[in-house]
């Protein structure tokens, strides 16, 4: 038994992505139609060419009809998937695996989420109370516990960590400021970040990703068919998922300075893709910066920085858009908000633009590397799912 992956067997031939933000005038069906039509047109196909569909949404619909109805897909298999914040990436994984298996020639993945209709700050999905003993803490509070833990473990004071987190927010906002699809198209100063009202622990408003609506879509075919649709397909190098047991919450050895699920998913993905030195092999990475401390810790979990050094690397600009390894060059969740089902495919869309050199010139990264990584995590420190994908513009 092993994780073999599907390296170079499937390619993305078309993508679409709506602007992310407060789409008061669109419902989830509109977002789905917008992203899907862009993807069809990008691939030069119609819905009749696609053999099977997957729709990822966490809360904006149930069943494949969430996609079949707005697109009026008749007589085709359409399935809804959900896996916390990896939902959109799971839709693409399902579509790609279906094509790799030989079951279909062409498949499509759509991720969509409509969160702004809820009427609450943050992501609020009231669940049945059950026995009434479940934690009611916000995600911001759970992730805020990284700050004192990381500071203590690596001998920093908490103000130093907050300075690093402000640098992360500033970097991602600067990237989003020049991205027309971002929710927040505005650079922020470190001072603004540091003086924002605190929401949880030491995390302020600018340490937390916003809430947004959005959708993104991708169409995949067998790798050998890809050049029939586009000169510049993106080949799927790896998909890895690691689903935690939740035991980190009750394990006295867990120290809130790393996410084992993310490390496991990354290691699996690197093995599938043949990546041995991610920092020097990847052209870019889109990581799940739901909160600024999450990105800091992820730099270590994903192998971009040695344990205890991510804070230095962030300050040194290693992960800036013009740095050694650009991280979240599109602005990340920080600038895009986090429509749960759409975020994973939005990250893939950024890889699509950057590896094909189709980002607007002011934000196009310059590199001769051909691999990009996307990463999602969903849940909380100690109990999360994580998904890592690796994409490449060349075979081999």
């Amino acid at each position: 038994m092993a994780s073999h992956g599907i390296k170079d067997r499937v390619a993305i031939i078309g993508m679409g992505c709506t602007p992310f933000g407060e789409h008061w005038d669109k419902d989830v069906d509109d977002l789905i139609v917008d992203a899907s039509m862009d993807a069809f047109s990008s691939a030069g196909v119609t819905k009749d060419d696609v053999d099977a569909y997957w729709i990822g949404t966490a809360t904006s619909g149930s069943s494949g009809m969430t996609l079949a109805r707005p697109l009026q897909i008749q007589g085709k298999p359409v399935t809804r998937v959900e896996n916390f914040c990896a939902t959109g990436s799971e839709a693409l994984r399902a579509a790609a695996y279906a094509v790799a298996s030989g079951a279909y020639d062409m498949a499509m993945a759509v991720g969509a989420e409509k969160l702004k209709d809820g009427g609450y700050q943050g992501i609020a999905s009231p669940k049945p109370a059950g026995d009434g003993t479940a934690r009611t803490l916000t995600a911001a509070a759970m992730y805020s516990m990284i700050v004192p833990a990381y500071a203590k473990k690596y001998g920093l004071d908490e103000d130093q960590v907050m300075d690093v987190l402000a640098a992360i927010a500033t970097k991602n906002h600067a990237n989003g400021a020049v991205n027309p699809r971002a929710q927040f198209k505005k650079a922020v100063s470190k001072q603004t970040v540091l003086s924002a009202p605190r929401l949880a622990g030491r995390l302020g408003v600018f340490d937390c990703a916003g809430v947004a609506d959005g959708a993104a879509a991708a169409i995949v075919v067998r790798a050998e068919d890809a050049l029939g649709y586009t000169d510049k397909p993106l080949y799927i190098k790896a998909f890895a998922v690691s689903t935690g047991t939740g035991s980190g919450l009750i394990d006295p050895d867990y120290d809130y300075t790393h996410f084992p699920e993310c490390e496991a998913a990354a290691n699996d993905a690197y093995a599938q893709a043949g990546v041995t030195d991610p920092r020097h092999q990847l052209a870019m990475a889109e990581v799940h910066d739901c909160f600024t401390p999450t990105e800091m810790v992820l730099m270590e979990d994903l192998g971009f920085a040695a344990r205890g050094t991510a804070w230095k690397e962030e300050l040194a600009g290693t992960f800036d858009r013009d740095g050694e390894l650009p991280v979240n060059p599109d602005g990340g969740l920080k600038s895009f908000g986090h429509p749960v089902g759409a975020s994973g495919l939005r990250m893939v869309f950024e890889c699509w633009l950057q590896l094909r050199k189709e980002a607007t010139p002011e934000r196009q990264i310059t590199t001769d590397r051909t691999l990009a990584l996307t990463h999602n995590l969903g849940g909380y420190p100690g109990e999360m799912v994580s998904l890592v994908s690796i994409l490449g513009s060349e075979l081999g």
């Binding site: 609450y120 700050q121 943050g122 609020a124 009231p126 669940k127 049945p128 109370a129 059950g130 026995d131 009434g132 003993t133 934690r135 009611t136 803490l137 916000t138 911001a140 509070a141 759970m142 805020s144 516990m145 004192p148 833990a149 203590k152 605190r198 929401l199 949880a200 622990g201 047991t245 035991s247 919450l249 009750i250 394990d251 006295p252 867990y254 809130y256 100690g382």
Partner: protein, 472 residues
Amino acid sequence: MRGILSAAGYVPFRRLRRSAVPELLGTGGGKGTRSVASHDEDTTTMGLEAARLALGSVPAAAPSALWFSTPAPAYADKTNATAIHAALRLPAEVAAFDLGGGLRSGPGALTAALSAAGSTLVVLADQRDGLPGGPDESFGGDAAACFLVGEDGPGAPVIAEMVGSASATDEFTDRWRSPGERRSKVWEERFGETRYLPLGRDAWSRALKAAAVEAGDVNRVVVTSMHGRAAKAVAAKLGVGEGAVVDDFSATVGQAGAAHPGLVLASVLEQARPGETIALVHLADGADVMVLRTTEAIGTWTSVRPVAEQVENGGDLPYGKFLSWRGMLNPEPPRRPEPLRVQSPPAWRAEDWKFAFVGSKDRSSGAIHLPPSRVSMQGGAVDDMEPISLAGTPGTIATFTIDRIAYSPSPPIVFAVVDFDGGGRYPVELTDVDADDLKIGDRVEMTFRRLYSADGIHDYFWKARPIRARRG
């Protein structure tokens, strides 16, 4: 010999400075403080805390019945004693009854237990409300008390026996409250005072006679009443020696209604030596007097957490918070969805976990699972766990945070990852805490609380609180 086998009082952590009332309202208040149940406490949770302390002194004891008496029950119709029963993990064959209603019911329950059979855990609790600026608000208090009553035995000997008692009953309207209301009303004070004085003297003289003691032989007297003037007047006429009338905590706790005689009596027992004569006088719709004598065994009985220590260990509560906790002020809640009602079948299935903080311990790896799990997180053993309760196990804060946006009846939520002594970790909300004073490494203990209420169903579960008092 039948008598009291153990006793304890519970005083909640928060104190309202009476002088804070006129600072806001321009009137009312007074000197000293009153105790205030936290927003997550009610008479059931306070009663449980008293019961845990009382049983903590006599771990070998096995009550055969639980009687819970309060004029401020968390539920009508549904028995409140069953939640205390569940939290104490008492066996199903132990009956649990609520003994209702009036201010006289507390000492009534204790007297009844002393003349009943079997080993009875008598739990008394009260929470006193009043309108802002009024005397009930300032001079009422919140507290609980618990007595284990039964036959003398090796594991739990009698520490005090009742040597005499008497009641004087009369029907008159001095203080009243409609069911469901939080505010009491009172008749003109002088009327009650003139009723209580003869009733108290009558009951007192008959109780002394029954006990065959003279007033001057009584070492300590507890006099309690929501009618403060009557209590003072009766105390002055008892004919006991100077200094025999004990401090009734009016200046620190306030009068905690039906629980108050129990609270003060428990405190007296904590200080008493063998062979003392102790009397309790409670004035409510008549007068009830009990005369107790301590035994040799009280010399070796020790309180887990003396009342006096709890009275000392209070923390200030701003008047605005007090008003919002009591429903007199409605501050803007966090803009988050309010929780839905607890579901009855899952709560029942999780009874030991939810009410008694019982997890499971893997027999092979020793890994502790909170909540209990069928499959081990270490080694993967299936259905090979034993129950383990961590309700009484202290722990240490591994890390903590403050959530300013989550829903809470009293935001913000202070939350910590707690490592229990001897193994086991649980991330849990803290209570009775001032977040500014909190540090990683602080010591905490578990406490049974009411998390919220929805559709009239109370969500009882455990939180952690800082350990402040010395442990015996």
